[in-house]
Point group: C2
Chain length 341, copies 2
Amino acid sequence: MVERNRRFVKPVQNEENSKELIQGLLNQDRAVLAKVITLIESNAVRHQEQSKNILQKLLPYSGQSIRIGVTGVPGAGKSTFIETFGHLLCEQGHRVAVLAIDPSSPISGGSILGDKTRMEKLAKHPNAFIRPSPSRGELGGVHTRTRESIIACEAAGFNVIIVETVGVGQSESIVRSMVDFFLLLVLTGAGDELQGMKKGILELADLITVNKADGDNFNQAKKTMREYNQILHFIQPATVGWDTKATICSSLTGTGIDEVWETIQDFIKATQSNSAFKERRQKQVKDWLFALIREQLETAFFNDEHIKEVWPKVEFAVMNGDTTVPDAADLLFSAYKKKDS
Amino acid sequence: MVERNRRFVKPVQNEENSKELIQGLLNQDRAVLAKVITLIESNAVRHQEQSKNILQKLLPYSGQSIRIGVTGVPGAGKSTFIETFGHLLCEQGHRVAVLAIDPSSPISGGSILGDKTRMEKLAKHPNAFIRPSPSRGELGGVHTRTRESIIACEAAGFNVIIVETVGVGQSESIVRSMVDFFLLLVLTGAGDELQGMKKGILELADLITVNKADGDNFNQAKKTMREYNQILHFIQPATVGWDTKATICSSLTGTGIDEVWETIQDFIKATQSNSAFKERRQKQVKDWLFALIREQLETAFFNDEHIKEVWPKVEFAVMNGDTTVPDAADLLFSAYKKKDS
């Protein structure tokens, strides 16, 4: 099932139906899950309150899935890969939810993913749920909303959650901070391609897969795989006790798709036996809490009327070399504290 | 001149002599510079106030040096390299200040660098000033104090500032954020060695130099240099418009030491012509201001009596899955705000 026209799914107005939503969701009703995610993503205060209450109730039913992040530059074939990969898992009896973080295009004002018809085949599978979520440029938002949507999907009985993100900007490290396993999809021509990616992205990955390894491209893909395996030799792996490797795959012919799933299963086994799995999840929860606190502290500071007024002057003085940075920070901070007392 | 026993250099007690200190420092008196840095590093409130006033006066005389960060794992030969390199520059008429960020050993309570007799030859040169600064484990402290010491050194007429740091932990990215050029010293056997370094350290460097390229080690060093040059092909360079490369050098025979200085001069020329130099310095000032604000906001939050009391319970509830992270963050933040109003 795909929520393509989610903007027109009206969030439920009545708080009385929270119970109904929770029950429907626990009964694995995908239409209810879609409604709950719409609530989670709504900026209206009453929806936020309602979704918080619902999530609190869903929390005990969450946490049992494998959370997989998938990233790659635009054109790396993420959607087609997820379609083929997700379909394989659904056919094996897994229930697969796909949450796509979709940075809204600042030019068109629209969504990069929304305009395309995506994952048609997977969307039709009874075991699948697909949800593109526009990020509207708010990274903090992505952080919070997607994590909450993962909880909702898990409570709705999905045991494999795939979070898809475009491998540019900051979204990959945020997605890395909410998944167990991180897959980087790449194309042939490693060196050139890495130029367009974010620094340090290789160090986030648990597996690098050279996609589109089919037809005339097959040998080139093999060569690129070997190049990546060489590079990986010099890079500290993302996960303790796990050696990140590079493989090839083709979403067209199916080559290497099952190998990805086998690798993920090996990974889960390895990280559960050395407790890296549990420790990462606990660290993710703590980091999330810290990130939210930090965000709230900074938002309060930068939205403060005093600070808004003083900031440009202080910044000018600092850039101009008229005042030292520690003096400027003290001045700003005491202006802020003064207001409070 | 080396400040080996800086702990016994008594900071001046009298605020009246600030004028005298400023005058002495501008007259390039190294003993006065040493006293001012001792004030900068002092945790006593009256010293901090005095050093702030002094720095404010020194600010117009700062900014004219080339700031170079040097890092590498323990044993990479940083001190010997800086001694040879610094001596070469001093002989050419440059005035070279070395600020070594020295993570105090948590075991002995003492300083790693302080126990060794370091850079004896360079220390004796009339154009050199060497200052090891124990970080006492406070990274924020390093950030602030070392940046302030750079200002003092520049006002004292030093035109090359070398900030040395051990290439483990978080200190390299902090040092990267306060220098123009970042040099990574490595040893032969790239792959093995990188395991001990921080992730992403290659992406901070403007030059990688394989040290100890002498005697039996020469050919191996050449080989390692080629390996690093291969890896660098896949990594986005640290500075816009500059291709990070790997070279070899020997602090023993002098091989490649002048090449390091030539590379730095090329770098300055290139980054000044494409304005990357100026933009990085401006960004560093802004980032420093943000970092200090963030630090003060978080310190105030985590030292708050309410928060100290509530935090362990909230954290337990979150880790235990009893409450969602956004709920926990809201609860903590509103407890904090309530106290203020």
